[in-house]
Symmetry: C2
Subunit: 345 residues, 2 copies
Amino acid sequence: MIYLNDIKLSKIMKKVLINLTVNKDSVNHVVNSLVETSLRGVDSHGINLFPHYCRAISSGRINKNPNINISDTGVSTSSIDADHSFGHHVGAVAIDKAIKLSEKTGISAVNVKNSTHFGAASYFGLRAAEKNCLGFAFTNADSMLKTFGSTEAFFGTNPICFTAPLKNEAPLCLDMATSLVSWNKLENKKRKNLDIPDTWAFDDEGKSITNPNKAISLNPIGEYKGYGLAMMVDILCGLLAGSLSSKDILPMYTSSIKEKRYISHFFMVIDIKHFIEVNVFKKQLQDIVDRLRGLPTIEQDNSVMVPGDPEKKCYDIRIKEGIPIDEIKYEEFLATSSMFKEVIE
Amino acid sequence: MIYLNDIKLSKIMKKVLINLTVNKDSVNHVVNSLVETSLRGVDSHGINLFPHYCRAISSGRINKNPNINISDTGVSTSSIDADHSFGHHVGAVAIDKAIKLSEKTGISAVNVKNSTHFGAASYFGLRAAEKNCLGFAFTNADSMLKTFGSTEAFFGTNPICFTAPLKNEAPLCLDMATSLVSWNKLENKKRKNLDIPDTWAFDDEGKSITNPNKAISLNPIGEYKGYGLAMMVDILCGLLAGSLSSKDILPMYTSSIKEKRYISHFFMVIDIKHFIEVNVFKKQLQDIVDRLRGLPTIEQDNSVMVPGDPEKKCYDIRIKEGIPIDEIKYEEFLATSSMFKEVIE
């Protein structure tokens, strides 16, 4: 593993994107999101995606100078046409709009169509929590989750992100796919020639498997429940925007990188002060979190965690030690620019 | 099994409650909810609860003549003090309020504190979908879900209900606990002296078990994910209302029935027309549903279902054949009133 300094890395990623004539807002949001997400340990949605994004800019899948169009559709709602911008950029525009609307009315919803991969949903949810709001972020994605009762996938791993501010620390952050594990985790096992647990994935007959090479779909959490939650996310994202459903979205890697993907997102924000005094809320949630962490553990060395704790722990380590990437990925970075020679810790 | 006629049953349940001097709105909502829920096959939240509710009225846990107080806290938000009314009643008041608010602003949220068990969340979600809205209904409940990493439960099976209208049939309805199975299902196995699958529940050391008599907590869907979703529901319900968290709510059956439970609910409604023409939405969702039902199945006799399909199938059968209850439960009905002699099909 090679360890990269987050500050140097950010600077050079920004330079590379600016050289590709990507607009400044997109540059800032995509780099901030990728680096923050890698620092938080979510490697599947962090800097590892950077070389792919560079290719998607050059090919035209991602619009480097989009005309992001916001329509106010109600006192508490807006609809955004992303014009195929970086999802990270339009997602930040959308959640910031939702935060503003909720300040006036108590709750808001903003949907986004014609977008691209938006990275980690937590990037948006955390913006809301930092403004003393509850944040929800959803996106649809290409078909990958086994349909309950069928041999085929229809919905994506369509994630749910929920955030809430705490009194003494960074916000609580639940950011979860509706599948039990990610495709990325399965790919890792494949690369190492290892079997997978029989709860992870299914073959083309809908049978659970331990050989990751046979996998064509992922197991939803709680069987029909995860399938139902993924459908809910697709309704909020694709259907409410009159855009594509998961099944009709092109896969990120295996489709032609010139093709647009028409991904949709959905954001909701609740302004806490419309329900309860913010400091009272934050103290009460902190109390709950502290009580949870104090519960008796199964393994003596561990403590009970709340959503976002593994990411906070990882952040504290990586901000000192750097962001690890493997050598193959580092070569991909160097292929986008030789400037990346300077980022090793 | 004894089969009860839903119309006769409704009439007599209403009479019994009126004789107990329960207010008319509560009577209508609780009976409509229980009968509809039983017709839909969700026996854990249907008429089986009626004798328990009668005892909870007599003991004073449920307030038969509550002063339900609605405070408008924002253009899109309201807070309701249930005054310990039937949850079914105050829940209907809350979702109807949320529907009205969303018509004006696009999205709304209404929370409820000082409530009691509200039965099936679908009763509220379906009211929103029937008004061409997307409905969300949540409630907290007493501690029962295993905390990830701990031997103890903290959150309840805190359910999530999501509904959406369809073009050619009753609305889509996802109504799910955040546990893999309900405690009720486990109790059924216990009564029949049967083992349970080792994925259902845990003993007091946090170990998965097959003997239901050793169960002290239920397995969340997707391990830390279901735990996180249950926490999200508790934040939306208990914390946002400044009221009790799951851990501090008295259990429904094993606590003194005189004690109040201080349950909280949370409802959100999205008015579809603020995002897309309602008929377009309904047609597109119907198309998705039809495509899902047409997917290749694993077992040849079955077809793929969407959330709410099992309940619709059950409804069609029970509306003709009656609602089945076992003889012990029927005796409990007769103990509340001899009028129930007339309801057998």
